[in-house]
């Protein structure tokens, strides 16, 4: 491979278009990277960043458009083609074998030989890690390493394969501030040596700190490519979240009632034992929708699991209608009138192999009329299923059809029928319209507003800012587990929400009416 000159354009993607069923993930995107440059790719979840990079890395094939690498037009059919072209990708979740040594993990990825290259591989690793200041002990086993060290292993893996074009997918998401600092200095080192680096992120500070140019994507389209020196946080936030005309929903004024849910300084751990929710406090009243905005993975998922008893609360208090529920089980939450429409509808909210009517009683099979003592009341279950199917407009061949074969919109209406027909006190809905078609989106939103009129307290989690801004009465914005601010929906701009979503607290936003 010929060493590229500095400033030479090494990657050029022209008019890239990629369709998935129901979504245009990439809509005629142009994108290029030069040697010796760090190019940030910025956008919300679902903006099309990862799709674009997966196309470059050969994981997907574009429907339209072409890719040139070092000025030559190429077809990248698989990651192997990409690796041969000198492209390397560092995934967000590390793909490593924890019980193997660092050297073995790297050799596994980079050696073309059948037999295992012992000392030779180690030499190469030491040489490359010396060159870039990526110090890791090649004999250490991966499970002993910290997240920052595991990331170094991942970078070494890519470098040992001879990559000169690096794609880093949200590389700082698992790192501590010190780990992040280390990574940035290593990236600057690589940049000096003529490597081209694509840095996928949604954190504005990082864009400004590390990148030379940045490209902002929104809803599958490119908004802008600009030298970072000419960008400000405010502009980036605006480009990222957009300024579209909001769609109108008929939202009646509802008089707010008593406080239903109150959380005080909640601390909750994530799956990896890290603190995912940090001292979060808020309250919701009857007839009120509190929207929680934030980039995916900012702690919303852990927060709602804590609010439904599915995740342990480490510190803080959770009070539901005056009753302390900090240590309550999922069943106690169900019994207390908390309904929950989960993000993972099919994996969590549904038993796909069981029938529609059986799925409709998942939350209230234990109470009359659906059961008496030990027995289920099949005729009551049938009657209620027919009624709910027609009232909520769930399209299914019959109540006995396995629920898993329904379409996405019908599955969501089924879950909403189940969760809202019991007139819940508190309704928690996560990403209620994600992946649904336009008609279903509308019907789901209308259903939620009807619950609000019925004086239910609603917690709405969504990545769709339009949805949050039109549906909510108040909006809380989460960033890295903390709440950046809670504001009335009518008194905040998209741009201000965008700034909070990317790490600026409300009180630090200039002109904020805090």
């Amino acid at each position: 491979m010929r060493k590229p000159r500095m400033e030479e354009t090494v990657v050029e993607m022209k008019g890239i278009l990629k369709r998935f069923p129901g979504v245009l993930a990439n809509d005629h995107i142009d994108f290029d990277v030069k040697a010796g440059e760090i190019h940030a790719l910025l956008g919300e979840n679902g903006a099309g960043k990862t799709t674009l990079m997966n196309i470059l890395y050969g994981l997907y094939k574009q429907d339209e458009g072409e890719i040139c690498i070092r000025g030559k037009k190429v077809t990248i059919k698989s990651p192997k083609d990409a690796i041969d072209l000198g492209i390397g990708m560092v995934h967000q979740l590390f793909k490593q074998v924890p019980r193997h040594t660092v050297a073995a993990n790297i050799a596994l990825a980079s050696s073309p030989d059948f037999f295992f290259p012992g000392s030779k591989a180690k030499e190469k690793i030491l040489r490359i890690s010396e060159e870039f200041g990526l110090k890791v002990d090649p004999d250490a086993e991966v499970w002993q390493l910290s997240a920052a060290e595991r990331q170094k292993v991942e970078l070494l893996k890519v470098l040992c394969r001879g990559a000169e074009i690096l794609i880093l997918d949200e590389p700082t998401s698992t790192l501590t501030p010190q780990g992040k600092k280390g990574l940035f200095s290593q990236l600057k080192e690589m940049k000096k040596k003529g490597y081209a680096i694509i840095f996928i992120t949604h954190k504005l500070d990082e864009v400004l700190e590390i990148s030379d140019r940045c490209t902002v994507l929104r809803k599958g389209k490119k908004v802008k490519t600009t030298p970072t020196s000419k960008a400000t946080k405010r502009f980036l936030a605006r480009w990222m979240v957009g300024r579209e005309v909001l769609f109108k929903v008929k939202k009646k004024t509802v008089k707010k009632g008593k406080i239903v849910l109150e959380v005080k300084k909640l601390r909750v751990l994530g799956d990896r034992g890290e603190t995912a929710v940090k001292k979060v406090s808020f309250s919701i009243r009857e007839g009120e929708i509190l929207g929680i905005a934030g980039i995916g993975g900012s702690g919303q998922g852990e927060l709602i699991e804590a609010l439904t008893g599915l995740r342990k609360i480490e510190e803080g208090r959770l009070i539901l209608s005056g009753k302390d529920m900090t240590k309550a089980s999922p069943r106690e939450f169900v019994d207390a009138g908390v309904a929950y429409v989960p993000e993972k509808r099919v994996e969590v909210g549904l038993v796909p192999t069981m029938s529609v009517k059986e799925n409709l009683i998942l939350k209230d099979y234990r109470v009359p009329p659906f059961s008496k003592r030990v027995f289920l009341n099949l005729s009551a279950i049938n009657r209620s299923a027919k009624e709910k199917i027609s009232r909520y407009n769930v399209i299914t061949p019959s109540p006995d059809t396995p629920a898993g074969i329904l379409s996405g919109g019908n599955i969501q209406r089924l879950i909403l029928a189940r969760e809202t027909s019991g007139e819940p006190k508190l309704l928690i809905v996560a990403y209620p319209t994600y992946g649904l078609d336009v008609g279903s989106v509308e019907s789901v939103r209308e259903l939620l507003l009807k619950q609000r009129e019925r004086k239910s307290a609603i917690l709405l989690i969504s990545e769709d800012l339009d949805e949050i801004m039109t549906m909510s009465d108040r909006i809380a914005v989460m960033y890295e587990g903390k709440i950046m601010g809670i504001v009335n929906a009518g008194e905040v701009t998209r741009e201000e929400i965008g700034l909070m979503m990317t790490g600026t607290p409300w009180r630090e936003i200039p002109n904020a009416r805090a």
Binding site: G309, P330, V348, G349, V351, P352, T353, M354, E358, L378
Partner: protein, 362 residues
């Protein structure tokens, strides 16, 4: 180029479920016929001998029904456990511990009881022992995450050693030195249907168990919880279902039913405790506890299905003995065919979760 597209199904179609059982038997018989042919026999002739030996006459059916009894009791219990994805491989041990406990009550009860009450107590002891053994595994699984396949399987060997210790040691009948206990007193031996070895009290218990489990699964809250938990544990947690309770309960029921099968064999067939009361008497024949795994799968983990499957498999076992005696085909062939059925069933169940479409690609 012809491309094969494989997609995961959210839910298998109902007719696929039924088809798997039938197709698995056909595949196993076809593969088995190759085995038979390589041994120099005519597969068609062997199969016709096998099926007429198992189902072809009144005496054949009587023998088959006798063997159906333990397979039915254990199989329907395993169907329930498997429905909750509690992989109980410990039925052989649970059966033997049930036989031991029941025999203990039969032989060593320190006070006198009228015979019917004494027999009832034997069966209660058998159920309790099997249930207790299974409950240990369920408890370790839910509390410390010990894999249930491993714990139930290993306990089988522990129980087998206990049986040997008893019949070669403290419980051995005085006299000729055979590894048997002394015989149960005649009043404690179960009655049989005239001219057969069908110990009908146990058969009735088995049929009642099938009906109860059918009702449990279809009509009760607990059955609903078991099905939700077995099909999607995450949804069960979301619905507030207590997984600890489910696993413990299904293991108690399946272990207890295996224990009943154990004491049933002692009181109904052998009238004493010895090795092989679990059906593993001849070489190459595995315990009813293992064969019942095939019964539960062939019956698609349903109560009624398992009852039919128990009768079918019992017929193959009985016919297999006949084939060995008349034709000289080793009984190992029957074991091989049963194994092939299980492999096809499990393979079929996995394939049913996917959708296969062929398309012409670029």
């Amino acid at each position: 180029m012809l491309g094969l597209k494989i997609e995961k199904r959210a839910a298998p179609l109902p007719w696929v479920e039924l088809g798997i059982s039938g197709l698995s038997i056909v595949i196993a018989l076809l593969a088995g016929s190759v085995l038979i042919w390589t041994q120099g026999f005519s597969p068609l002739h062997i199969y016709s001998t096998l099926f007429s030996g198992g189902f072809g006459s009144f005496s054949a059916i009587a023998k088959t029904l006798t063997k159906t009894i333990p397979l039915l009791l254990i199989g329907v219990g395993l169907a329930l456990a498997f429905k909750a994805k509690a992989w109980n491989i410990g039925a052989p041990g649970q059966m033997i511990i049930g036989a031991i406990a029941g025999t203990g009550v039969a032989l060593f009860l320190p006070f006198d009881l009228p015979a019917p009450a004494h027999i009832a107590l034997m069966f209660i002891a058998g159920f309790a022992a099997g249930a207790g053994l299974a409950a240990i595994c369920a408890f370790l699984n839910t509390k410390i995450g010990l894999d249930m396949v491993v714990s139930t399987l290993l306990l089988n060997y522990v129980v087998l050693k206990l049986l040997k210790y008893l019949i070669y040691g403290p419980w051995q009948a005085p006299g000729w030195g055979f590894p048997y206990t002394k015989e149960l007193s005649a009043s404690l031996q179960l009655p049989t249907l005239a001219g057969t070895r069908i110990h009908y009290p146990t058969l009735i218990i088995g049929i009642v168990a099938v009906l109860l489990i059918y009702v449990l699964m279809r009509r009760t809250k607990l059955g609903y919880e078991i099905r939700v938990f077995g099909e999607n544990p995450k949804a069960a947690e979301y619905a507030g279902i207590n997984s600890f309770k489910i696993i413990i309960l299904v293991m108690i029921i399946s272990g207890g039913l295996a224990g009943l099968a154990g004491i049933g064999e002692v009181a109904g067939i052998h009238h004493l405790l010895k090795e092989g009361i679990d059906g593993s008497g001849l070489a190459y024949v595995s315990s009813y506890g293992y064969t019942a795994i095939i019964v539960a799968w062939l019956g698609r983990r349903s109560a009624l299905g398992s009852a039919l499957a128990a009768f079918f498999i019992a017929g193959i076992l009985v016919g297999g003995y006949g084939v060995q005696l008349i034709e000289g085909v080793p009984f190992a062939m029957v074991s091989a065919i049963l194994g092939l059925i299980l492999i096809s069933l499990i393979g079929g169940a996995i394939l049913a979760r996917y959708k296969f479409t062929f398309r012409r690609g670029r």
